[in-house]
Point group: none
Chain length 198, copies 4
DNA sequence: ATCTAAACGAGACGGTACGTCAAGTCTTTCC
DNA sequence: GGAAAGACTTGACGTACCGTCTCGTTTAGAT
């Protein structure tokens, strides 16, 4: 019944068809945007992409892998560099919340975390991704350390962990429209706690 | 044809049979313990409980509802009261991590969070539950405030949020065997940040 | 919780309540009329009759038994006595087809036959009922025999069988709107076949 | 997870697997033979065929469709041609009764008739099939007409109808072990009735 | 007049089957 | 020879009924 398949794409041949891959990613994103994680199935993505399921499985070994790829195609959130660690972190969280709230990214990331709870590969991918992000946030702390805003013996990883945890929990409990003042207060508590003792 | 039914339970009468409910809850807990969230299905629970699926659906309209009930049957974690806020919080987190690690609670709660990402009722239940827990942790802060360990203008809810977020993220990323020193460091950063300015 | 029970019926006491029985029969008839055999379930009848399922099972041990009772409550079809066997039989079939076509009887009887294919009690009940009917039609033949219209050595039971079979098959294949001439032709072939040889 | 699939069948590939289809048909036949119409469920057929329910539903949209296919796979009953219409018809009925009695065909056909009472597609299929059979029996009559055994103005369809009806009713009321003399008597009444008037 | 037993409505119970959706694997077809 | 896509098995979904059993109430008939 392939007669009605993938109209518009040309090759179904021996070479990987980049149009198919794109169509799949786009379809996945579309499904997540329109039906959310609950409606996100390989079946649905294949349908929307006018692709066969095995085509998806060939390139992404699991639902989680596809989810990760879709997430990584999203635009990154900006990390400000104001010269002040409290402003940096508060700005970063504000941007992140807005990004998660206003693009499919939030839904995708939530889905990925959920998937990781029952799928080992998703968990691994998420761990890998988180490590990278922790390093990223860690650098903000290190910069501040260099400026003397943060005590030298502070573990930047732990601080990054605290900040990321705060963000995750707000994402997972649907509190991304949190008051700016509240975000700033949370950041301030941590920043004060890691300031050098005078 | 019910001749093979649930030998050992006596009444299957017109009133809700508490033995059936218990058997279902216990089965659900058992499935979660042994097969995790991935293996947690209404079918599996019904099979293990020697109950009919409709009996489960009659009382718990969704997987989430059953999950919530199972979670609420779990023992609570102890919150120490040492007279020192850092010890209190670090001890609480240590206890919580151990509880999540060594009992089915951790699996159940992870599952509940995951379920909440695609099921509204689970999300609502989780929000309700979290509010209660936040109050609980908040009281630890208020006690410290009364002792003068914490500045008067600190928002206890935000601090509780930070601590809970840290715990959640460790649960969700399978890092419950975290070094005690690391937990203590994280707690210390926050506790210092909310101490009264001298 | 009987407080909301079957408003309008008075007694639910120690004697069988004929109002309940009536309500059940009527409900059964109503369900058959409105939803057909496909929708005919004890559950549905109980619902419509505002009766408990056990009340139905107490008095009618099976769906088939209820079906039979419902059928027997229907008005009987008239068997003409014109003094001519061909007119008698053709008239009887005409009346029977009209009766089956224009009242719920047809649906009920079809259901009963269908039920008898998978339910022994229905089969037995149907056999019992058929025997009675065969005797009934047989008497028409015997009268004709007495009048000399039918050969003395003809087995009235077999003739009744042929006539009933013809009726059943038209019911079961939804051909109750058969042309009168056709019915008469079928009857004539048989009547001629059993006439005394001159 | 298909590792435990249908051991013994090889292909589960891109083309419809005829072995699966066969296995399903055979299983359906087996279930009908051993458990009768009462035990005939898609579930049971799938179990016996070691096939998935969706595989059955993909190819047969309903129980009726499967039933029809199973029936059509059955061997046809022989129609004798003795040069005498009474012997032809009595022989045909005798063969038919034996066939229905001694092979699954009888059970299958009964089931199909029963199913047709609540399922439109089964009814349509049955009507279609019956038309074919009526033609078949009709030809026996036409042959006799050509031989002068049957009056020229006799409607062969009606006669075929009478004969088929007699067979159906005996099938449906479980009287397939009817005395040969009885069958012959019934046939004789009809045959005499359609003989040319001398 | 009181007690008892039967019948009632309601509905929970363990089950079976329904028809559907999705997951992930295998195989054929086509470039 | 390798990518695409369809057919496959498996398993879970949530629903409808099945026939049995228990509940608490109501009432007729026996004591």
């Amino acid at each position: 019944m392939g007669e009605a398949a993938a109209r518009g794409r040309k090759s179904i041949g021996a070479k990987r068809n980049p149009e198919s891959a794109d169509a799949i990613i786009e379809a996945a994103e579309g499904v997540l945007r329109e039906a959310g994680y609950a409606g996100f199935s390989i079946e649905a993505v294949a349908r929307r992409a006018r692709a066969g399921k095995p085509t998806i499985y060939r390139w992404w070994p699991s639902k989680a892998a596809l989810l990760i790829e879709v997430y990584q195609r999203q635009k990154r959130v900006e990390t400000p560099d104001t010269g002040n660690i409290e402003d940096d972190l508060a700005g970063f969280l504000k941007n992140l919340f807005a990004h998660w709230r206003d693009t499919p990214s939030g839904n995708i990331f939530r889905s990925l975390i959920a998937e990781a709870q029952s799928d080992g590969t998703a968990a691994a991918a998420l761990a890998e991704y988180s490590k990278g992000r922790r390093g990223h946030t860690g650098r903000m702390i290190e910069r501040a350390k260099a400026r003397g805003e943060v005590a030298a013996d502070v573990d930047a990883g732990i601080v990054a962990d605290l900040i990321a945890s705060y963000a995750w929990r707000h994402l997972l409990t649907d509190r991304l429209d949190e008051d700016d003042a509240m975000i700033r207060a949370a950041v301030r508590y941590v920043v004060r706690g890691i300031a050098p003792t005078p």
